[in-house]
Assembly symmetry: C2
Homo-oligomer: 205 residues x 2
């Protein structure tokens, strides 16, 4: 199985890069799908799972169909989400060649010798990209948005370092790190694809 993992700073265009890469390589693509599968397995709310995987393991669990008010005892802990994450990622990897976006796939799928890519950009570029994609409330001040962007990355950093032995954003954890500042994602896909094919060729030897 040829596995590509994309770790990314929020707003850097990592998701788009992964999606285009999957299309051009004919690989499966798993992003939001990972959350949906964990929700099915654990019967936990997708928002809660998101919180656990992205923002840290501090969120309060909500079962599907429940509200905060309806939770009497905590049966499902963040640990359950993390265990499900491990299982689901491996099940998805077994389905064939794939690109995984985030969710510490680089650490969890390390036995597959994945090609680990990190995508990042300068803050100004991330801010512009987030606004253009409607991923943030454009009525908020830039200062507030920047804080939000930084907070998402802090959560990713923290959670990745809990799950794996490698550090999020540290060059040693990746094969390729791509700065997308001012670049159109579509323009850099051919280069990354070219690198990926060489990487897998080498692994097959």
């Amino acid at each position: 199985m040829r596995i590509i993992t994309i770790s990314r700073e929020f707003g850097s265009g990592g998701r788009e890069l992964g999606k285009r890469l999957a299309e051009q390589l004919g690989f499966n693509y798993f992003d939001r799908e990972i959350i949906t599968e964990i929700a099915k397995k654990t019967e936990l709310d997708e928002h809660y799972i998101d919180s656990v995987l992205e923002k840290g393991i501090t969120a309060y669990p909500i079962h599907i169909g429940q509200t905060f008010a309806g939770v009497s005892t905590i049966n499902h802990t963040p640990i359950e989400v993390l265990v499900a994450q491990q299982k689901i990622l491996k099940e998805l990897a077994e389905q064939g060649d794939a690109v995984f976006i985030g969710r510490s796939a680089d650490a969890i799928l390390k036995d597959y010798n994945p090609l680990n890519i990190f995508v990042y950009a300068e803050m100004e570029s991330k801010l512009a990209r987030c606004k253009a994609k409607g991923e943030v409330d454009v009525n908020l001040k830039d200062k507030v948005l920047i804080r939000k962007i930084k907070n998402v990355d802090k959560g990713r950093y923290r959670n990745h370092n809990i799950i794996g032995n490698s550090k999020w954003g540290d060059r040693k954890s990746y094969h390729l790190m791509v700065n997308t500042t001012d670049l159109k994602i579509a323009d850099i896909v051919p280069a990354v694809k070219e690198y990926a094919l060489k990487y897998f060729e080498k692994n097959e030897k």
Copy 2:
């Protein structure tokens, strides 16, 4: 002028990548030539210049044709080398499109909007590459060689951070970071070339 700078961990194959890239793009290539030019300008010994630029600014100056014993007063300080380095790099950049290897060209030539690439690898891979290239004394124990490799990088880190505002080896300082572990340099040149052409296309707009 299209300028590519290659910063690299010792033994990572950065020089080979730069050389091949320059060949395939039809760019000038400056590596050792930078030292030779500084030596001409300052009339200092090339080994001394090397020490200043790579190992830190602590080395004792030796003029061409002199030995340690022959130095009575210190007329030429490391500062002179660093000033010459600034001048020479800019003069070389003015000659046309070029690839620069090391010597803090990324920081010194920043007004040219250079494409800054960082090349790195796992220690085992760097050790094997150094041995294969005869860049180290193979009679030395691995432990000693690893210490030497680490020391070269420490000098590069230190000196780069004196010269520029950006940190050596930190992702924010580069556009592309390539891990060459177990890869043949020739195999990854097309991907890097492809990325470079897109980078310069964007800059020309």
